[in-house]
Symmetry: C3
Subunit: 353 residues, 3 copies
């Protein structure tokens, strides 16, 4: 999705070159940025993906809207008709992403270890500390303040934002993005209690992050106890996620913020995990499983589907207390039903007699 950026304006024709999109309107219309459909502006392009926002379409002041064919007739301005408007938006928005270009080369303040293999096209920011025997492939960018442990390797075009920490022997694939504050390769939580005292169990495995993975800010991914912890190709992790030792996350799964995955749990491919969800350890989760937010996943899931835990939903605190009281009176209710059944049985008997 790399674009020849740097211009202030692009025509719709330029923006859609090579994309699977049909222009309805003026291909020469100039666009200078993106906007949301509810806060649209002249000169900007927006998109309509979620039907809830369709009400904003007739009165949009954007200069172009990316949308489905079904919505095109109601578009009062230029339309880019797409089978997947959100994906098309992602492609077009890249033209207007004004994030700074990382500085080339190795900053003089960076500390580089011995026996490293650093491609001449890799960039290393100020005050980074690179251990010994580290390999950085072509196009790798390491922003300021990162620390990379000995023997770690980072594949082509991967990007570590500022203040990321990799421990030793971590393997990062190609085109991996890691946001600031994330720590990869800390010791797994392996402890053995002996005579009342915890002893540390050495964590000898490592972490493998496969190609095209994106990891958010302040996540923690522990190294394996014996085998490696593995994040498979194309997985997307949001912020503040904890991945325990020996975990494996399957290809193209996406985990929202604040998820915790306990040690040795294996999550399948193409799973969608809602924010705040926690997984117990040593579970196996099938492919194509969705879990709603803040679920306690306490057992393995063998079949695709949507899963949840807890009960009751969001309520006022008053109703919530009432619900708990009801639940706790259930045994009493069951006793009363039992008494009724007995009384009725007796009555019925007597009648028969």
């Amino acid at each position: 999705m790399k674009k020849s950026k740097g211009k202030l304006q692009y025509s719709l024709a330029e923006l859609t070159k090579g994309l699977d999109v049909v222009i309805q309107g003026d291909p020469e219309c100039l666009i200078d940025g993106v906007c949301t459909i509810q806060q649209s502006q002249i000169g900007r392009i927006t998109f309509l993906n979620n039907p809830l926002y369709k009400k904003y379409l007739p009165e949009t002041s954007a200069s172009a809207v990316i949308l489905l064919a079904d919505d095109a007739s109601e578009c009062p301005v230029n339309a880019l008709v797409s089978r997947d408007p959100y994906f098309t938006y992602a492609q077009i928005a890249a033209f207007f992403d004004d994030r700074p270009t990382p500085k080339k080369g190795i900053h003089t303040s960076a500390v580089i270890g011995e026996h490293c293999e650093i491609d001449k096209t890799a960039s290393i920011g100020a005050n980074c500390v690179i251990g010994d025997h580290v390999k950085l492939a072509a196009g790798v960018v390491i922003d300021a303040g990162c620390v990379i442990g000995d023997f770690s390797t980072i594949g082509e075009d991967s990007y570590l934002h500022a203040n990321v920490t990799l421990y030793h022997k971590i393997q990062i694939g190609k085109r991996v993005l890691i946001a600031s504050g994330t720590v990869i390769g800390g010791d797994g939580f392996g402890i053995a209690k002996h005579k009342g005292v915890w002893h540390k169990v050495p964590q000898i495995g490592s972490v493998v992050i496969e190609d095209d993975v994106e990891i958010g800010a302040n996540c923690t991914i522990d190294r394996g106890a014996i085998e490696d912890t593995v994040i498979e190709k194309g997985v997307k992790l949001d912020n503040l996620i904890q991945i325990g030792h020996n975990v494996r996350i399957g290809e193209y799964s996406a985990l929202a913020g604040c998820v915790g995955v306990s040690g040795s749990t294996v999550i399948g491919k193409n799973c969608l995990i809602g924010g705040g969800t926690g997984f117990a350890g040593h579970l196996t989760i099938a492919d194509n499983v969705a879990v709603t937010g803040m679920t306690a996943v306490t057992k393995s899931i063998r079949m695709p589907g949507i899963y949840s835990s807890g009960v009751g939903g969001l309520l006022t605190n008053l109703e919530w207390r009432k619900n708990s009281a009801r639940l706790h009176r259930l045994d009493h209710l069951a006793e009363r039903v039992k008494t009724l059944e007995a009384a009725l049985a007796e009555l019925t008997e007597r009648k028969k007699v």
Copy 2:
């Protein structure tokens, strides 16, 4: 609340100068520190705010107690009578806060980008990395190891503790406090699945932190997808809080630790959010809403009030399993009641006949 600190002892008269407080006892009594009411010491000052702790008042060995007028008659030592004892305590405790004064100026090891505007009264700690076009106003303090992205601006008297990361174009207001390890402006979790593969949606917005906001340690606040993520004036965030892209937190709301707010959710003013609570995305929460800890906020809240989710409360694991079993037998119980109703109806019919 800045005080002329540095002395070892202050008289009650000095401590209360300008405060809305009445001294009951000796204004010349010297105080050299603060203490809790349950572990009080001679020479120290304490406060009584929570009625649960009133039992400690008669036997306190503190030299002075900040309290409400109603409690003053029971105070065996000097009393500072206040309408808001906790607030008065906050004002007085500032005299005894012995945190180190940040070193003035820019440390020689800091790396400063080009075209920055750094006020001559701003301080930058060792090994900081400041990007290009960064503006730091008067009195700003940046502790050691911080990384500030290009085009970010920080308002007067704001204080970034060690190892904070700001991405590019982040706007920080005046008197903002940011604790260590916090990351502001990482990309929001915007991903579009196309033909089985996740594609990144550019996150072009930024983050605006308004005046007088305090942010705890290891938080993550993502930049907006199109518009900015906004933390309004006077908001207080505890540690390990995740704020998704496009979120807005209203003025003077306070969020306890480990809260997660999913993308595009708007929280009103003066809200109180308990620790560990999670918000789904695209919600609107009214002003003056309180949410108890560990609640799953799954829908918008239109009215002020106290809200909760889940049911059952804290129990022994045995009772907890019993509760689940009860819940799962509810259908069976309902069936039995239905049977009873039918049987009784039949009996009653027959009687009539």
Copy 3:
């Protein structure tokens, strides 16, 4: 558990020297690493601790298995018979832990404050920033990028991994391990609302981490408001844990990832806290309490035992919605039972008449 490491192979006799283990088989068998029992390899040693994995024993290709006496007869290869196989494994695995040895001495890029007392055997990594009046005892290792605040002290043989932040006046005991990204001593969440505006309550206490504590990555441990926050001897904290101000965690307790402990809560000794659990503030938890994962601990726990909250367990989303509906219909069911009781009473009365 320190071993003379560095060799590629060790005989079983060497590995078990001084351990409470009986060798069944060839003491001269050479071992070059560890493996799991389900993915065993020749030349490696593994262990059998969890009965669930016993099925892998008969066909193991490991060269030795650490196990209980009861399982020894079924072991097809060399066995190390132990009363505590997991603990024995921990001792033996240390031989094969190939983590890099930290570099000796103080890196030239580290910035050291004034009046520090740094033992000549302590190591300080690249780009560390050490404040004034800091004391580092013998054998202390500070990895790259750490920031240590003024007047902090670190005891013998403690190890801070890269990018750890300690605020001022923090006391760290002996043999303490702190993983990357962890922040110790940030201000507690002390705020007082006065006339609609939050005011900061100075956090004057500190943090005491006692001997043999291990703290995971990206944790936050706040300094006390008045007294210190204390993590007692031998406590083990996993990653992304939040410890509020004034908290005390008792000896040899272990907290799994993503736990949050609100201010002033005291947790006893030898407790086991499941991942994602949250504690309200001002609670007292007895010794020897276990809490299952993702529990909301909303009240004090006076007796040892296992505790949980919530109800319902993991379900498909469909069943989960049904459970909530059932719960909300409970009042209706209770009304129906009441009606039945009245009707039956009336019927019975009439019969008597």
